[in-house]
């Protein structure tokens, strides 16, 4: 029913004007395991869409290969790869009703009309849009339009489901709802899903695997826990969970010059509540700014040249001067020059 996607050393160069060419993807290698959700996470312009389009076959790679299961699909026509795609701006057919939109891939595949109806209705039911089957896309809300896009993708029972920022045009509340719904839907149909997003929360909450991209190459990949717990580079550390990064104070940790220290804001503890142990990081700072997030508060602490963010209980009494401690086990060290993690 579902198959893994292997992307091997894929490269992409766009020929620009005047023979200038820009490399958009550089040696991208990753596997999206069968029946799981793999998220490609990265900033705008890092090549996520290009990579997804290469998997779909809408764009050809300059180098490397794409395999679906055992099959090399690098030069197979998009419609014969067994992939379906959901687009950020929906990509619906404006002159067709919702029902006809969902049926269209089945019609093209030559599925008999009665079967088309039952299958498109089933897909529409799964996405709760079976009551708007006779409307045109222009008569739907953004959320409904995206559901139509997803239903159309599901109608053909694709082995591989590609999604390019499907929720980014929806409002915040709807995004949270759809997130959970998409995961539930994927578990039900069991397709392999490649999901592109620039939203770290989506990546953390939805995926079985996260692939962090930066400027056309893969920065790190693994389960969300792995990537979050052990970021391989300062980029990943800052991008996922907004880690504090500062030159290591040599006196404190014994770390030499050229080391960047990373601490997550939530790993700071008030000094008066913990007994300091050797190796811990101790920050005596002045509160410059405090943001209340409800139950938590983010303190911006000035200590020397560094501004640290500490996430503390909102009930903690606020003083002008506060001392914070981060446990040795929660400290991350990176080479300042390359940004790569150094073993503790």
């Amino acid at each position: 029913m579902s198959a893994p996607v292997h992307i091997r050393a894929v490269e992409k160069t766009f020929e620009g004007a005047k023979r200038a060419s820009t490399r958009i993807l550089n040696e991208v290698t990753l596997t999206a395991p069968a029946g799981q959700i793999t998220t490609i996470l990265g900033e705008s312009g890092c090549g996520k869409t290009t990579l997804l389009r290469i998997v779909a076959g809408l764009e050809s790679a300059t180098g490397g290969s794409v395999h679906i299961g055992e099959r090399d699909v690098t030069s197979v026509h998009p419609s014969r790869r067994g992939v379906a795609m959901v687009f950020q701006n929906y990509g619906l057919y404006p002159a067709k009703t919702v029902g006809k939109n969902i049926e269209f891939p089945l019609k093209m595949a030559g599925v008999p009309i009665a079967q088309r109806h039952t299958r498109s209705l089933a897909a529409a039911r799964l996405l709760h849009i079976d009551h708007v089957m006779d409307r045109l896309p222009a008569q739907l809300s953004g959320g409904q339009r995206q559901r139509v896009g997803i239903a159309r993708a599901l109608a053909r029972d694709p082995e591989i489901l590609l999604m390019d920022e499907p929720l980014s045009n929806l409002d915040a509340q709807l995004r949270i709802e759809m997130r959970a719904e998409l995961v539930a839907m994927q578990r039900r149909i069991g397709s392999t899903m490649l999901y592109v997003t620039h939203d770290q929360t989506e990546a953390m909450t939805m995926s079985d695997r996260v692939v962090v991209m930066r400027g056309g190459h893969i920065e790190q990949q693994g389960t969300p826990e792995e990537v979050f717990r052990v970021p391989e580079t300062t980029y990943v550390a800052a991008f996922l969970g907004n880690m504090n990064l500062a030159p290591a104070p040599a006196s404190e940790t014994g770390a030499g010059a050229g080391i960047t220290l990373g601490v997550r804001p939530e790993h700071f503890l008030p000094a008066d509540r913990v007994a300091a142990e050797p190796g811990d990081l101790r920050i005596e700072g002045r509160v410059e700014f405090a943001e209340l997030l409800g139950t938590d508060r983010i303190l911006h602490l000035r200590a020397g040249n560094t501004l640290w963010r500490a996430r503390v209980d909102a009930a903690l009494p606020l003083h002008e001067e506060i001392t914070m401690v981060a446990r040795a086990a929660n400290l991350h060290r990176f080479d300042t020059e390359s940004g790569v993690r150094v073993a503790a």
Binding site: P78, S79, V83, Y90, G91, Y93, P94, P105, M108, R152
Partner: protein, 270 residues
């Protein structure tokens, strides 16, 4: 002060309206007035249908109308057949020399028809098309302006729609027929109005290639009738003129919105 400004503005607009409408009103009034009364300036003193009867007796109206209808519909149908695929190819397909074709298209738009009229006339005379209906139709099929207009429209359609069609297994032809054309209804309707009104009103080119009334269209018939008769038979002449614009007027009343969009194109076409 403001009231005065309003009054002046409306007066100016009213004056403009009269200036535009006066000839049409004069035409309609004259059509129902005997020629003798027209010359005496007594419009509609004795309303009559006599002028129309005179026209019907002297002019092969049926032939003219039929010819005009055939020319309009055939021009539009052939325009669609040629321009839609051409515009689609230039907007969405990748082929060698695509930039050159688009460039040539831009060049063609700049060449006025009057420049091409004589070469086309010479070719048509060679192949014996003079005095035939195809001679009135063929020069206007595949017009650069129509291709350009449709291409712009196709370029503005969302790219993800085409990507979805590719993934859904629609080939070029299926994409064009089942997705692009239905999505382009407004553009095609506007093009239809534009094509049909200019074909209906065309006089310059028919006057080149027609010498008798067997293939004559309405405007050609009007001019022929005016020239043939005594110059002073104003009543029947205005009746004939009224008959020539009547179908378009009726069509306009039924589809005002499409008409206005289509006629806006005529302005751009120059």
């Amino acid at each position: 002060m403001r009231v005065l400004g309003q009054i002046v503005r409306h007066l100016l607009l009213a004056l403009g309206g009269v200036y535009m409408l006066a000839p049409i009103i004069l035409m309609l009034a004259s059509a129902f007035t005997p020629t003798a009364d027209i010359l005496a300036g007594r419009y509609l003193a004795h309303p009559t249908l006599e002028n129309f009867q005179t026209v019907a007796q002297q002019v092969p109206l049926g032939t003219y109308y039929l010819n005009s209808l055939i020319v309009c519909l055939a021009t539009f149908a052939l325009q669609l057949l040629v321009c839609v695929p051409a515009a689609f190819a230039m907007a969405r397909l990748r082929y060698r020399g695509r930039n050159i074709t688009v460039w040539l298209l831009g060049l063609l738009i700049l060449i006025p028809f009057q420049v091409l009229a004589i070469p086309i006339y010479l070719i048509f005379r060679q192949v014996g098309l003079i005095n035939t209906l195809p001679a009135l139709i063929l020069p206007f099929v595949g017009s650069a302006f129509a291709i350009f207009l449709l291409r712009q429209f196709f370029l503005a359609l969302p790219g993800s729609m085409f990507d979805a069609a590719t993934l859904d297994g629609a080939g070029t032809l299926a994409t064009l027929i089942q997705i692009v054309i239905p999505a382009s209804r407004p553009a095609l309707l506007s093009l239809g109005v534009f094509t049909i009104t200019s074909a209906w009103n065309a006089y310059f080119w028919p006057s080149f290639v027609l010498s008798d009334s067997s293939s004559a269209t309405i405007p050609f018939g009007v001019v022929q009738f005016i020239n043939s008769d005594a110059v002073t038979a104003y009543g029947p002449q205005m009746a004939m003129a009224t008959l020539s614009v009547l179908p378009l007027l009726i069509a306009f009343l039924f589809a005002q919105r499409q008409f206005i969009r289509g006629l806006a194109l005529a302005g751009q076409a120059g």
